[in-house]
């Protein structure tokens, strides 16, 4: 019954999306007059989609094996958290989650948006309904999550053990909130272009959605990176894997959009460019979804491999992205630009920021898709991986960081004051760190050295906009900006430190052996069998000492019966200045155990920085909410 109810809700929601699109297109009267019905339909569509998703969650929690999806991806002996997160640990469930976020975003927009004029909001909700309609069709015709299985098996096949981790419970939903939150920016841009109404009001309506989606994307990417770091057991945190790139591309676009939307809201400039970015950002989300969900790329993340579904999503992509770009091309001439500005100005800095972010986005896009293109054209398979992205994107990222040192301190329109005094604190700290790395660590590579230097320069520079103003009266958005920029600095220092100072030791050891890694002396004491709820494991006892400090590490090699798989559970101990990371491998012919040990100084700063960035975004978002409830003063909107 629950499955049928879920499926029925999904069909009804799809019907409402069609109705919403029809009303917005002017069937049944002027769209402006129909706005209250469009709103009601959008809210109904959101509620029905939530009901459909809730039904699937319930089926997973109850381990209803008569549903094909549950039988294939779950198991009654799994802990409840993984039954719950198993709902989206598969193709159909994750697409349903995706569509739910899309419909819910539409409903929230319909409920709360009061800044857009009636006709623009109508057109926006129409665009949102059109997006939803395609993805409802995809679910109903190509990925039905509620399909029954008869006869029902005694028990299910289980969830990939790699995914049985608290990290997975929250990583995809967070990322999807970000991916799909950008759909609203897309729809608002479409609405504005359709109604020939591109201006600051559009930007103000768009901004909270961009901020919220960007915060979620930042958190999702940070969490995903940490998950890969501790779960895959090889000490790496970013692989330039196509699926990682798929989440990075919308983030890059959203970061650029976040900055340009402020220029539009505050100064009325960069109109066409901002609309373009809004269209591109959600297009990147759809491209990412296509890359991940179609299984077109070979990658660690391809848990769903099905090319027929791929062509369905590809068709949707072509229609939506192609349609949006066509609309953009036809309407671009009617978009009036705001006042021009001088190169050395806040706008100038933001334009440079947008240019660099867009170029990095383009590089990631080209690098990710190039192997597919090359294979299609020549039949030859080639790989584009870390050596390409590091060589090409890192210099641009460093340039972007250098820009961040000064740009937030520039004035709008025109800045004639001398620049040097404003960046002096950063330069002092940065050159100090540069000297220190040259003297103390002459052997490290150029990129890590520059990363450490620029990161250190940015720490004081990112806080400088807070100087010379009353901190109590400083808008939350400014605090948010400073915090987010500080997060970038912290994260950069972590990345550079990890690549410059990591020590690795691989060893074949017997209990009693001692191994040195970095400042640590690790004693392999014992190996014992242990058991968990749905796995058994061998657990090593390692005693790591550094000076007087001692920590015990217990890496495990886990065996899961359903489905039969072995995973490594790394043991990680975090101290203030880094992490010691241990993995237990297999036993060799002579009875020795394979141990992998790493000492990673300050590696945690990478994710700590990511959290600071997200926190900065959240503060800015909260600040906007409070600010918009007050009557606006003239010129107050400038985001500094």
């Amino acid at each position: 019954m629950i499955a049928e109810a879920g499926l029925a809700s999904l069909w009804l929601a799809a019907a409402l999306a069609a109705l919403q699109l029809g009303l917005a297109a002017g069937l049944g009267g002027t769209p402006g007059r129909q706005l209250s019905s469009i709103r009601a339909v959008a809210i109904g569509q959101g509620i029905l989609t939530v009901l459909a998703f809730a039904s699937l969650v319930l089926l997973f929690l109850r381990s209803d094996m008569s549903v094909l999806l549950v039988a294939e991806n779950s198991h009654s002996q799994k802990p409840w958290l993984y039954k719950f997160s198993g709902t989206w640990g598969n193709h159909e469930g994750s697409m349903l989650l995706w569509v739910m976020v899309l419909a819910l975003a539409g409903a929230i927009l319909a409920l709360f948006e009061r800044r857009l004029d009636r006709r623009t909001l109508g057109a926006t909700l129409g665009a949102q309904a059109m997006l939803a309609l395609g993805f409802f069709a995809f679910l109903l015709f190509a990925s039905n999550p509620f399909e029954r299985l008869s006869p029902a098996p005694v028990d299910g096949r289980g969830l990939n053990p790699l995914l049985q981790d608290p990290g997975l419970a929250f990583h995809p939903p967070t990322l999807y909130l970000g991916y799909v939150g950008l759909s609203v920016a897309f729809s608002i841009a479409v609405g504005g272009l359709v109604r020939r109404n591109v201006g600051p009001a559009i930007a103000r309506a768009m901004r909270p959605w961009v901020l919220a989606a960007w915060v979620m994307l930042t958190l999702g990417i940070t969490a995903g990176s940490y998950w890969a770091y501790y779960e895959l057991g090889w000490g790496g945190w970013w692989f330039w894997d196509p699926v990682e790139n798929a989440s990075l591309m919308p983030w890059l676009a959203a970061t650029a959009l976040l900055h340009s939307v402020n220029v539009l809201a505050a100064r009325g400039g960069l109109r066409a460019w901002t609309m373009m970015l809004a269209l591109v950002a959600f297009s990147m989300s759809m491209v990412g979804t296509f890359l991940v969900r179609s299984g077109i790329l070979t990658s660690v993340h391809s848990f769903a491999v099905d090319p027929t579904r791929g062509s369905f999503i590809l068709a949707l992509l072509t229609i939506y992205i192609g349609g949006a770009l066509t609309l953009f091309a036809f309407r671009i001439a009617t978009v009036k630009e705001g006042a021009p500005f001088e190169p050395v100005s806040r706008e100038g800095g933001l334009v440079a920021n947008n240019l660099l972010l867009s170029v990095i986005l383009g590089i990631v896009f080209v690098g990710t898709l190039y192997p597919l293109l090359a294979e299609a054209l020549s039949g030859e398979k080639l790989s584009v991986g870390p050596p390409y992205f590091d060589a090409v994107a890192s210099p641009l990222a460093l340039l972007l960081a250098a820009l961040m040192v000064i740009a937030p301190q520039l004035r709008w329109r025109r800045d004639a004051a001398p620049v040097l005094p404003r960046i002096a604190p950063g330069l002092v700290v940065g050159s100090g760190v540069l000297m220190a790395t040259i003297v103390l660590a002459p052997g490290i590579g150029l990129l890590p050295r520059l990363g450490l230097t620029l990161g250190a320069t940015l720490v004081p520079a990112s806080l400088q906009p807070l100087l010379n103003r009353s901190l109590r009266r400083t808008p939350l958005a400014v605090w948010g900006m400073c915090l987010a920029h500080l997060g970038v600095a912290v994260s950069m220092i972590g990345m550079a430190s990890d690549s410059a100072f990591t020590r690795e030791r691989l060893a074949a050891a017997r209990p009693g052996d001692k191994i040195e890694v970095g400042p640590w002396l690790v004693e392999f004491r014992d190996i014992t069998p242990v058991a968990g709820p749905n796995w058994t494991a061998l657990e090593a006892e390692l005693r790591a000492s550094r000076g007087s400090g001692v920590v015990v590490l217990n890496p495990q090699s886990r065996f899961f019966a359903e489905p039969p798989t072995t995973t490594n559970e790394a043991a990680i101990d975090t101290s203030w200045n880094g992490q010691i990371y241990a993995v237990l491998g297999e036993q060799d012919g002579e009875g020795r155990w394979q141990l992998r040990l790493w000492w990673k100084p300050f590696v945690t700063l990478i994710w700590f920085g990511g959290c600071l960035i997200a926190l900065g975004g959240a503060l800015a978002l909260i600040g906007r909410f409070f600010r918009e409830r007050r009557p606006r003063r003239r010129g107050e909107d400038a985001f500094a």
Partner: protein
């Protein structure tokens, strides 16, 4: 696609590591004694694709074939070969697919030119946004 799907199924069905009962080759999981050679070998291993995995380098994989390739890389580096020679030898055997560093050849010129073209295109699009300083 069938082939990839099969590999994926195999990977998910069986314990990823125990491809055979043979013990891993020497240097598969053993570092070279000379830290400079080990550093060079490690840098190369991070740029070589594990051919039976889903998007992992041989430095990051538990698969037996990755272990064999690590052993081969370390042995050749220890014997005094330059990393590029080892890479070329592997590319000859397995094709460009094995190296994460795309070759520079007519087929990949657009790829390597992309950054410059993108910067030029971006600057062109934004050219009217600035006012000359007067």
């Amino acid at each position: 696609m069938k082939y990839r799907a099969l590999i994926l199924l195999l990977m998910m069905a069986g314990p990823a590591r125990a491809d055979s009962d043979l013990p891993p080759a020497r240097y598969a999981n053993e570092q070279l004694a000379d830290p400079r050679q080990e550093k060079a070998a490690k840098a190369l291993m991070e740029e070589l694709r594990c051919l039976v995995c889903q998007g992992q380098s041989i430095a990051d994989s538990d698969a037996e074939m990755a272990g064999d390739m690590r052993a081969l890389v370390r042995q050749r580096i220890a014997a005094g070969e330059r990393p590029d020679e080892v890479r070329d030898w592997l590319v000859q055997r397995y094709g460009d697919w094995v190296s994460y560093r795309p070759p520079v050849e007519p087929m990949t010129w657009p790829l390597w030119a992309a950054p410059i073209l993108l910067i030029a295109a971006g600057a062109y699009l934004l050219r009217h946004r600035f006012r000359r300083r007067d």
